[in-house]
């Protein structure tokens, strides 16, 4: 029988009793609803302006953009809130003087870290799943494939797991929660920006495979790829392939392959962050 991680269970129990969690959920839904309303108004505005030139099918097609818009809003919120959730994972335990007690138990440091990460992923997915009714408006007008929602959920789970493991790693290396959050944001920015650099050099030095994997590691590229697939524009890598800016076989630039590679890279990054964090908090291995 699967053993539930005690740290995860404890964190979820404590969080569920805190009013802040429910206020956060309310704020999340409110932002999503406002975002939906703004996109709705924009789409309606464009269509009424262009009503002389487009027929009704074009109008319905434009409604498909709700889903990517809501997806982008959720990805943005998750990117901001997960470091805040996980930044206090280890620093709070130290602050409450419970960390040492935890480390004297047979619970391994890896299990402590994964328990913290899993509790943040579950809380995040609670928010995302609670937003599905709002996202469901996008499905009313049709044009969306049923597979898009589970793909979105899978991408979000893996992305949340990577962000969570990064946040816990930063928490393990920080004395204060604020410091952990700042470190996590800095690493994000580096990840988003630096992953484009090899692509730029790739054009000069023809190291296409190197730049391909770096682009796949970028969560923005992953979501844009998915977005383009939803609106029927192929994928970002297919676009680059067509314009001969990336000299790889066509199959490697397909949506499914690039998405799979991106998810695997994120999982590998998560494992790396977990290992680093576990080693740091292990009193017999990490530096004091």
């Amino acid at each position: 029988m699967l053993k539930i991680n005690p740290v995860m269970q404890k964190d979820l129990r404590i969080t569920s009793r805190n009013a802040r969690f429910y206020w956060g959920l309310f704020a999340y839904e409110a932002i999503l609803a406002i975002g939906f309303y703004v996109v709705f108004k924009i789409v309606l505005g464009i269509n009424s302006y262009n009503s002389r030139y487009y027929d009704v099918t074009d109008v319905y097609r434009s409604f498909i953009s709700f889903f990517p818009a809501l997806m982008a809003i959720q990805a943005g919120i998750i990117t901001i809130i997960i470091p805040v959730m996980t930044g206090s994972a280890i620093t709070d335990e130290k602050g409450h003087q419970t960390f040492d007690i935890l480390r004297t138990t047979p619970l391994s440091c890896t299990r402590i870290v994964t328990g913290k990460i899993m509790s943040s992923v579950i809380r995040t997915m609670t928010f995302v799943i609670a937003g599905i009714p709002i996202m469901a408006f996008s499905f009313i007008v049709g044009g969306l494939n049923w597979i898009h929602l589970p793909i979105f959920l899978l991408i979000t789970i893996v992305y949340s797991f990577m962000l969570g493991s990064l946040g816990v790693m930063c928490s393990a290396y920080s004395k204060k929660t604020t410091g952990a959050i700042v470190k996590a944001y800095i690493i994000y920015i580096l990840l988003y920006v630096l992953s484009f650099i090899p692509f730029g050099f790739g054009q000069l030095y023809a190291s296409k495979l190197f730049s391909y994997f770096f682009l796949c590691a970028n969560p923005i590229v992953l979501y844009v790829n998915f977005l383009m697939a939803i609106v029927g524009e192929g994928s970002i890598f297919a676009y680059l392939y067509e314009h001969q800016t990336i000299g790889l076989p066509a199959v490697m630039c397909s949506f499914w392959v690039t998405t799979a590679v991106s998810l695997v890279i994120m999982i590998l990054l998560s494992i790396l962050y977990i290992k680093i964090a576990s080693r740091k908090i292990n009193p017999l291995k990490g530096k004091e």
Binding site: Q9, R13, I14, T98, I101, R103, S108
Partner: protein
């Protein structure tokens, strides 16, 4: 149960624990005392696996620490740790708190209910299962921490200042719990600043100062030996300038002569346990002149042990026998030493502690 050999730990240039060795036998209650910064908490943390030693070995229940992960987990199952500060999870009930730690040790929910009841009864917290942990008083939290440490029935309980910050009643309750646990066969190590409690409860004591273990023995032996590797001779200049701080010192030559005399008289090894005469009072003799002769007289009396020598004060321990003490004083005076007073004080752990740790500031 616990064996520590040549343990060393440094933080940068500061040596927090400097080559200490001691043993704690099964079922005993060992007290760890020392001034702030002596290295007690560092030592305790190394025992519990919260700090890695620079060198030396720690063996618990026959398993040496620093081995494989499996051995590490086995050691952790032997230890119950109670830190000096009770950490609280907010919005957590007492029963949930116990259940959380029970689940870590693989105890099922069904067994936890009965175990929680029994442990809470042991620490006098019956009926508190549904109360939130952060609403308990400090004393209750500390007792809950003890209950939590006993969940997995550890052989060794390590407690860092368990009575710290407790009111007198809570201290008495904690003491009773510890004595109770000892009677159940638990081996307990406690560090504390409350020497009276240590003297009352503990079978043996280790006194640390500036990272070193200056004394370790049973309470009885420590008190009966009196001078334990710490016989002090205050060197400096004899009083000529009227300065009080130097008036009380002896010259280097006088110190060398006195030390030689004391070396034959005192016990240099902190672990000696045999051959002790029951000596339970201390006499401070204020001598105006000829203190070397007074030390010689002390050597000649079998029941007298020299503790410390200053320029105008000789401290000795001896058995509480008025006639014997009288004979000693009379002999000191007969040999030409001019006394201007003496006082007697009971040798207890506090006076031993103050004497042995007098160099740490």
């Amino acid at each position: 149960m616990l064996k520590i050999e040549h343990l060393v730990k440094s933080f940068g240039a500061k040596r927090a624990v400097d080559d200490i060795s001691f043993e704690v036998k099964d079922g005993s209650l060992f007290g760890f005392v020392g001034p702030n910064g002596a290295g007690k908490t560092t030592t305790i943390k190394m025992i519990c696996g919260l700090l890695k030693q620079d060198s030396g070995t720690i063996t618990i229940n026959g398993i040496q620490s620093g081995g494989s992960a499996k051995e590490g987990a086995a050691i952790k199952r032997c230890i119950g740790y109670v830190p000096d500060f009770f950490g609280v999870y907010e919005n957590f009930k007492v029963s949930e708190y116990m259940e959380f730690y029970g689940s870590i040790y693989g105890i099922s929910s069904a067994d936890m209910k009965k175990l929680t009841e029994d442990l809470l009864a042991l620490v006098n917290l019956t009926g508190k299962e549904n109360e939130y942990v952060d609403t308990l008083s400090r004393g209750m939290k500390q007792r809950l921490c003890v209950a939590r440490a006993l969940i997995h029935n550890p052989a060794l309980l390590v407690m860092d200042e368990p009575s710290s910050g407790l009111d007198p009643r809570a201290r008495v309750e904690m003491k009773e719990i510890l004595m109770n646990l000892q009677s159940l066969g638990k081996t307990i190590i406690i560090s504390s600043h409350i020497l009276a409690d240590i003297a009352e409860m503990c079978d043996s004591v280790g006194i640390m100062s500036q990272g070193k273990l200056v004394a370790v023995d049973t309470i009885q032996n420590l008190l009966s030996h009196g001078a334990v590797a710490g016989t002090s001779v205050m060197e400096g200049f004899s009083g000529t300038d009227g300065n009080e701080s130097t008036d009380n010192l002896v010259s280097p030559d006088e110190a060398a002569a006195i030390k030689e005399g004391i070396a034959e008289n005192s016990i240099g090894n902190p672990s000696i346990t045999s051959g002790a005469i029951n000596q339970d009072i201390r006499i401070n003799i204020h001598i105006k002149s000829n203190i070397e002769e007074a030390v010689t007289v002390a050597k000649e009396f079998d029941g007298i042990k020299v503790v410390s020598v200053r320029a105008q004060e000789l401290s000795v321990t001896c058995k509480e026998d008025d006639e014997y003490i009288n004979r000693f004083i009379m002999e000191v005076m007969r040999r030409g030493c001019i006394l201007y007073g003496f006082e007697r004080q009971k040798v207890d752990l506090e006076t031993m502690f103050m004497e042995l740790t007098s160099n740490s500031k």
